[in-house]
């Protein structure tokens, strides 16, 4: 059993209340930080811990914090990105729903470290009931003197607010989130300036994922060096993985980074193997936007080493034969899955969620969806697959925010690794799933798909 730092007490009844949370060692990190540490010392601990952003990009949190501009007389803000909208990712919801005080504690400690007097939790509209839970927890914290003026008699003031979004994927992009938080249309801003210099209301702002902020609590408790001892290489600590798809035990798992992917999928401790003992076909390892990998490449890297659940190992081989840890939305697909159908679903999502601000994403996502729809319904041609490839290459890297990349990568990787399946669709005009069924029923040898 791996070490658990965030979800250790998740099954304790009533852990969502302040009293139970405190009885399990809650708010000791806040106590420790406020009474024995300076803000810079907290930042230093986070740097030492090697914690990397858990929202998807994996940027070192300590470094992000140290970039924060600190001009005189200008307020600074901590914003928690709880707009968890990536298809396949549901770890933040679980964390906030079950153990909201962990996030609140993390917010106050982060606020202390960065000298922010107020912090905001921007939560997606679909998580309305979670926002209620958080508000309840914040009210409890105020009552206990853990929020508000002069927290724990340390002289530090901090206020924490929950803001509910209106349900747009794009508002998970940090600058679109800030725009939305300011009450404007949720369009990503053009960077630079980065939020660390001019963020919320033009003031220096740090935007971090829920899990990142929650991870600050164990880091302060155990010390950065001890946290860095967990995990592998530059992937330190633990990570919440939202496992879904054709597995026996879908759910949120806290893993020590560095668990082999094979163990994660097949071990009873985690996913418990593929449903119905079918064969593994492909895995989307970090939420819908990261490249999909076929079974052989997700279990072993291109040079034959076992692939681990870590930032580096999953990215091994670049996009040619690797992927990304992303936000940890681990979607497993067995042999009955049609990659083309799945890709159509993803692309339709990105088309729907494009904000429409810059042209490649606005026009390209819709175009890709239409072509995939055409292929899926048996009207495609081989040149459509090439066209799809060309379109994605013209979106990737040409847009203001990473949504363009997020829309392009699944398409690129699906064609890269499963081109045979697209061609099968084009030739036969129906799904690969049905094709298999047809061959099996008639006792015919199956064609090679990819």
């Amino acid at each position: 059993m791996g070490k658990k730092l965030l979800l250790e007490h998740i099954d304790v009844p009533g852990i969502n209340t302040l009293s139970v949370y405190r009885s399990k060692g809650g708010y000791t990190a806040l106590d420790k930080a406020l009474k024995t540490m300076t803000p810079d010392a907290v930042v230093e601990e986070v740097k030492t811990s090697g914690l990397r952003g858990r929202g998807g990009a994996g940027f070192p949190t300590g470094m992000k914090w140290s970039f924060l501009a600190k001009p005189e007389g200008v307020p600074r803000y901590v914003v928690c990105n709880a707009d968890e909208s990536e298809p396949g990712t549901f770890k933040d919801r679980y964390l906030m729903e079950k153990i909201p005080h962990l996030l609140i504690e993390g917010m106050i400690v982060s606020g202390f470290a960065l000298g922010a007097k107020s912090s905001y939790i921007y939560i997606r509209g679909e998580y309305f009931y979670v926002a209620r839970i958080l508000e309840q927890a914040i009210a409890e914290a105020y009552e206990a003197g853990l929020l508000g003026k002069n927290i724990l008699n340390s002289g530090f003031d901090h206020d924490c607010y929950v803001q509910v979004g209106a349900g747009a994927y794009i508002c998970g992009e940090e600058t679109a989130l800030l725009e939305s938080l300011e009450g404007k249309r949720g369009n990503p801003r053009i960077k630079p300036p980065f939020p660390a210099v001019a963020g919320l209301y033009g003031c220096p702002t740090v935007v971090n994922n829920v899990e990142t902020i929650a991870a600050v609590v164990p880091i302060v408790n155990m010390g950065g060096a001890a946290y860095a001892g967990i995990g592998v290489g530059k992937s330190t600590g633990t990570k919440l993985i939202s496992a879904s798809g054709h597995i026996n035990k879908p759910g949120v798992y806290e893993i020590e980074l560095g668990v082999p992917v094979e163990e994660f999928i097949y071990s009873d401790e985690y996913c418990g193997g593929i449903k119905g003992d079918r064969k593994l076909k492909a895995v989307v390892a970090g939420g819908s936007s990261v490249p999909i990998l076929p079974a052989d490449l997700i279990l072993k890297t291109a040079n034959g080493e076992p692939r681990l659940m870590s930032y580096e190992s999953l990215a091994d081989g670049g996009f040619a034969s690797g992927t990304m840890l992303g936000s940890g939305g681990f979607i497993v697909m067995d042999e009955s899955t049609s990659i083309v159908k799945n890709l159509y679903t993803f692309t339709r999502f990105y088309h729907h969620e494009s904000c429409g601000q810059c042209s490649p994403c606005r026009e390209g996502t819709g175009w890709m969806e239409k072509i995939l729809h055409k292929i899926l319904h048996g009207h495609g041609s081989i040149s459509d697959v090439d066209l799809l490839w060309d379109i994605q290459s013209k979106i990737e890297g040409k847009t203001i925010c990473p949504l363009g990349d997020a829309a392009a990568w699944p398409v690129a990787s699906a064609i890269r690794h499963f081109r045979g399946e697209f061609e099968e669709f084009v030739r036969n005009g129906h799904s690969i799933k049905d094709v298999r069924h047809y061959y099996r029923l008639n006792g015919l040898p199956e064609p090679a798909y990819s």
Partner: protein, 340 residues
């Protein structure tokens, strides 16, 4: 001051200048096209992505290249920056991709569009687009909405450059129009079909790079290349009154602001000058306008010949000694003419 090299031409510019502005200071064909950037409007630019360039060297201090192409209109220069625009095949390829994206849902109704002849999208498509479309689906259509008796909105032609929104924000009080919806159904619109009414609302026509916002008083009167531009002014209580009149015969068909060669207005004009003063007696005529855009609008102004001569001169200078530019017979290969 910062020294920046764009397509092997080096120029020194003040700090805070964007790459696009620096390129415009150099001038010529290395200036990236811009569909949404407008130097007179704050925070404009960055949306259309046609001005993307490659930064080969970030600065003298940090010579790493930028990983992705950047929008030249929103990226400020650093000392020692090296930028590639037309000398990078990668940039040209990416730009033709952007042009294709802008065109797939554009109705291509140029034959009935008032903007034809002075349309930036036309120019862009001629210069950077492909000959034919690869898009085979139905083009996007919007419901027509009426935004008042002066300005005609054709949402189908819009490329969402946000210029008109910035004009309304920065020039007038109480903006009533903006972008509704999101993604590829995002549209310029007014909430509950308000009409746009204020003294300077007509300027949205001038900033619109395409035929999405056109002048209702000029609608279907004439193709722009049949009209003759004349600079004129009047004593106006609202604006500077410096305008351009577009004549056909003795009639003033249209009044617009004066625009520079990048299609940007020199000074904003008010609605009274634009829509109500359409007789010669309202104006003091200064003389014929020089239009040095390289597109249809400057046809019959013989400007193109001048530009061609300048280009040839420059190429002559760039060639090593002894070589001559051959423009005589045989220099043209008919196989290389694609009608661009």
């Amino acid at each position: 001051m910062a020294k920046v090299t764009i397509d092997d031409v080096t120029i020194e510019v003040p700090d805070g200048t964007t790459i696009l502005q620096a390129a415009r200071m150099i001038g010529g064909d290395l200036v990236p096209p811009a569909m949404c950037y407008y130097s007179k409007l704050k925070t404009s630019g960055g949306y259309c992505r046609t001005c993307i360039v490659k930064v080969e060297q970030g600065s003298a201090k940090d010579p790493r290249p930028m990983p992705k192409p950047v929008a030249s209109c929103r990226t400020t220069v650093m000392d020692g920056m090296v930028v590639r625009n037309i000398t990078s095949p990668e940039v040209l390829e990416a730009r033709s991709g952007v042009v294709e994206f802008l065109l797939i849902n554009h109705p291509l109704d140029c034959p009935v569009c008032d903007q034809a002849g002075e349309c930036h999208l036309q120019d862009l498509a001629y210069e950077h687009g492909k000959e034919e479309t690869r898009y085979e689906f139905e083009r996007r259509e919007f419901e027509q909405i009426d935004i008042g008796d002066k300005v005609q909105l054709h949402m189908n032609r819009c490329i969402l450059c946000y210029r008109c929104v910035k004009v309304a924000d920065q020039l007038t009080d109480g903006r009533v129009h903006g972008v509704l919806n999101r993604g590829d159904v995002a549209e310029i619109s007014t909430y509950i079909q308000n009409s746009i009414e204020n003294d300077f609302s007509g300027n949205v026509i001038d900033v619109c790079p395409v035929g999405a916002l056109t002048d209702k008083t000029f609608r279907f009167k004439s193709r722009v290349w049949y009209t003759k531009p004349v600079d004129a002014h009047r004593d106006c209580p609202h604006c500077t009154g410096k305008v351009r009149l577009w004549y056909k015969g003795d009639d003033v068909l249209r009044v617009t602001a004066r625009k520079d060669k990048y299609g940007e207005v020199e000074e904003w004009i008010c609605n009274e000058c634009r829509f109500d003063k359409k007789t010669t007696s309202d104006w003091v005529i200064e003389g014929p306008s020089k239009v040095d855009r390289h597109s249809v609008i400057s046809a019959n102004h013989y400007e193109n010949l001048r530009v061609l001569k300048a280009t040839i001169d420059r190429q002559k200078k760039a060639l090593p000694h002894g070589e001559k530019v051959n423009l005589g017979q045989g220099a043209l290969d008919p196989n290389n003419i694609h009608g661009k």
